[in-house]
C-alpha cells in the first residue's frame, strides 16, 4: 500500500511485469535513489577528505607524509589576523549586499506588480544581470570603475563631483564590490518576489479595501506576512551565495587595497593554492561550513521552512 503525504490511500497495483511490480512497490526509494547516490558520492568524499585534511599539515611535496597536528589548524584560526580580516569583510559584505538586494528587489517587484503587470518582457529585461557570467560582470565593472578612463568618473566629472578611485580606494573598495554584486543579484530577489506576489490570494485584499485600509497597512498586514516564506528562502539562498563570494573580488580588487576586500573564499583560495597549505584551508572551510549550516538551520527553524 502506497501512502501519499496527505495520507490518502492508494488502491492496489495494477497487474504488470514482476520488475514493474517491484519498481512500483519501491517507487518512493527508486525515485529518490539517483539524487541521493549522486549527492552522497560527490559530497561524502570531499567531506571526509576535508575532515582528514583539517587535522594534518600537508606538505606540497608528495613524498613527505602528512603530519598529524590534531586541532592545530583550528587553534591557528584564533590568532590568524588575515583570517579575522577576511571574516569581518565577509560578514560586512553579506549583510550590506543582501540587505540592499532585498530592499531594492522587493521594492521593484512591488512597483512592477502594481503598475505594469502585463509587460512580462520588461520583467525579463530587468532580470538580465543575474544571467551573465560573474566573470564578465566583474570585468565590465572594472572598466566602469577605472579611475582614469572609466565611465563612472566621467559622470562624476560632468556632475562636478570629485573623482574617485572606486575599487582602488581604501574606503570605497568594499562599496564598489557591493554595488557590482547588488547590480547582478537584485534581479534574483526581484524574480522571487514577483513570483511570491503573483501567488497572493485576492480575497483578503478585497476585505481590507472594504475596511478602508491604506495601501501601506495592506502591505504591512497582508503582503509581508504572505511573502514571509518567499522572503525567507530568497534571503537564505542569497546569504549562502554571498558567503562564498569569489569571482568579483578575484577580478576587481584581488583582496586589496590594504586587505579591505579580502573575503573568506579568496583567503581559502590563497591558503590552499598559493601558499599550498590545504590542511589549514580545510580547517577554515570547515569553519565556514559549520557557520553556514548553523545559521541556516536556525533560520529555517525560525521561519518554519523545513516542512
Amino acid at each position: 500500500m502506497a501512502r501519499t503525504a496527505s495520507g490518502t490511500q492508494i488502491p492496489e497495483l495494477q497487474p504488470g511485469g514482476r520488475l514493474e511490480h517491484w519498481a512500483e512497490r519501491h517507487l518512493r526509494y527508486l525515485m529518490l535513489a539517483p539524487t541521493m547516490l549522486i549527492l552522497l558520492a560527490l559530497t561524502i568524499f570531499p567531506s571526509l577528505y576535508m575532515f582528514y585534511a583539517a587535522v594534518h599539515r600537508i606538505s606540497p611535496n608528495p613524498d613527505l607524509p602528512w603530519e598529524f597536528v590534531g586541532p592545530g589548524n583550528f587553534v591557528r584560526l584564533l590568532t590568524d589576523a588575515q583570517f579575522h580580516v577576511a571574516l569581518r569583510n565577509t560578514v560586512v559584505f553579506t549583510i550590506v549586499a543582501v540587505t540592499f538586494e532585498f530592499l531594492l528587489g522587493l521594492g521593484l517587484a512591488l512597483l512592477l506588480d502594481r503598475f505594469i503587470r502585463r509587460l512580462t518582457f520588461l520583467k525579463t529585461v530587468l532580470m538580465i544581470p543575474m544571467m551573465l557570467p560573474p566573470i564578465a560582470v566583474a570585468i565590465t565593472w572594472k572598466i566602469i570603475y577605472e579611475p582614469q578612463f572609466g565611465v563612472l568618473n566621467e559622470i562624476m566629472f560632468r556632475l562636478g563631483l570629485p573623482l574617485q578611485a572606486w575599487a582602488g580606494d581604501v574606503n570605497l573598495a568594499m562599496f564598489s564590490i557591493i554595488v557590482a554584486d547588488v547590480w547582478q543579484w537584485t534581479p534574483f530577489i526581484f524574480l522571487l518576489m514577483l513570483a511570491g506576489l503573483a501567488s497572493l490570494p485576492v480575497e483578503p485584499y478585497e476585505a481590507a479595501a472594504l475596511d478602508g485600509a491604506s495601501s501601506w497597512r495592506q502591505f504591512w498586514d497582508l503582503t509581508l506576512p504572505f511573502l514571509k516564506p518567499v522572503i525567507a528562502i530568497a534571503l537564505l539562498l542569497r546569504v549562502m551565495d554571498a558567503l562564498r563570494l569569489f569571482d568579483l573580488v578575484f577580478i576587481l580588487t584581488g583582496g586589496g587595497p590594504a586587505d579591505r576586500t579580502k573575503v573568506l573564499s579568496l583567503y581559502i583560495y590563497q591558503v590552499a593554492y598559493r601558499f599550498a597549505d590545504p590542511g589549514y584551508a580545510a580547517a577554515i572551510s570547515l569553519f565556514v561550513l559549520f557557520v553556514t549550516i548553523v545559521l541556516s538551520t536556525w533560520f529555517m527553524k525560525r521561519m518554519r521552512l523545513a516542512e
Binding site: 608528495p62 574617485q164 587595497p257
Partner: protein
Amino acid sequence: MVRKLFLVLAAAASALAISGTAWADFTVLVPSSSEGDGLRAAADDYSKMKGTKVEIVQAPYANVFEQGANAGATKSGVFDIILMDDPWIPFFAENGHLEDLTPYFKQAGMEGPDNDFLSKSLAICRNPYNTGPYVCLPYVGNAQMFFYDAAKYKEAGVDAPKTWDDVLKASQTLTKDGGGRYFGYVFRGGQGNPVVADFMPIFWSYGANMFNEDRTKVTIDTPEGAAAMKTFLALRDVSPKGIESYNANEVGTALAAGTAASSINWPNWVATFEDPSQSKMVGKISYSPIPAGTKPGSSEIGHWTMGIMSASKNKQEAFDFMVWATSPEQIKISAERGNPPVRASVFTDADLTKQEKFRHYPVLMEAIQASTPRPRHPKWPEIENAFGIELSKAVAGTITPEEALKNSQAAVEQITGLK
C-alpha cells in the same frame, strides 16, 4: 514504462560518461598570455617537423601555478612540461615537482646549457640559485625596464633620468602641471604580486634586500629599506588616484593612452606602445634600465622557464623538445613572435635590432644582466602575499611607512621561521 525510462536515463548517463580524451605524446602547461601563445606556435612547428603530437594546455596566469602545484602534489602525470614564472621555481623544485636535468644533459653529451644564454637567465634555472643543478631552461627573457616619455621629461627639465631623484623631480613637475588628468609616474599598486613587483627594484636600488647574504636573517626593516620606502611613497604622491588597484595592464594603458609619463613595466608592452591601433604614443616612449637610488638600479627578472614535471612519463621526449625550443634558431623565431629572447646572439642579431619594434633590445639585455631575482624561497608566494598586504596598506595610507616595514619584517620572519 518504468523500465523504459530507467533505460533511457542510464543510456544518457553513460553517454555523458564516455570521455574522448586523446592524450598526446607529451603535454605542456603554459599561461594564456603571449609566452604561452609563443610556445604554442613553436609546438605546432615541432609537431609538423617531428611528427610528435604536442598538446598545449593554456591556463590563466595564476592558474598555471595551481595546475602545476596540483599535478605535482598528486603526482599526476597530466603535464610533462610546465612553463613557469621564475619566482615559482624554488617552490616546484624544493617540493620535488621538477626533474633534475643533469642526467639528461649528460646523456645528450652536454655539460649543460651553452653559454650563449645570458648568465642571469641561466642562474635562475638552477636550484639553489646559480649553484644547484638545472631544473629548467629559460625561454622568455623578461626583465623590467624603465619606460618614459622623453619629450615630457625634457619639458620638466630632466634629459635622461638616471636616478630615482631625477624621476621624482620630473614627475612632481608633470603631475603638478597635469591638473589631475596627467601624471608624471604610474606604477602597479595592486595588493599582492603587482605592488611587490614594482617596489622590489626601488628596494634593491637603495641597497636593501629581503634576506641577508646567507639567508639567516630577514632584513626588510633596515635604513636601506626605509630609504626605498620613502622614495616609493613620494612616487605614489605623484601617481594617479586609484593606483592601489593598478596592475600591469592599467599601467601600460596609462602610458599607451598618453596620460602618464613614466613607469616600470615589462617588455611585452613595447609591441603595444608601437602599435597605432592600441597606442597614442607610437615612437615617443624611451626605454632605459631601472634608475639608480643610492646604489645602481636593478630590475626584477621575470623569466618564463620550462621544466619537466617529476611525474611525467615522457621525460626524454619532453627534454628533447625543451632543448629544441630553446635553441638559437627557435629563440629567434620566438623573439619575432613577440617574446623577449634569452640568448645574447639573438639580442644582438642584426635582423632584429635593425627593426624599430626591437629597438629596446640593447636596453633589455642590459636590464637582464643587471637584474635581481625575487628572493629564492619555496614559500615565496606566501611571502609575497604578506609583503604585498603591508605595501598595499602603506600605499593606501592606512599605516605609516615605518609600520609597513616593521610588519613586513615580522610577517616574513614568521613565514620563514627566521628570527
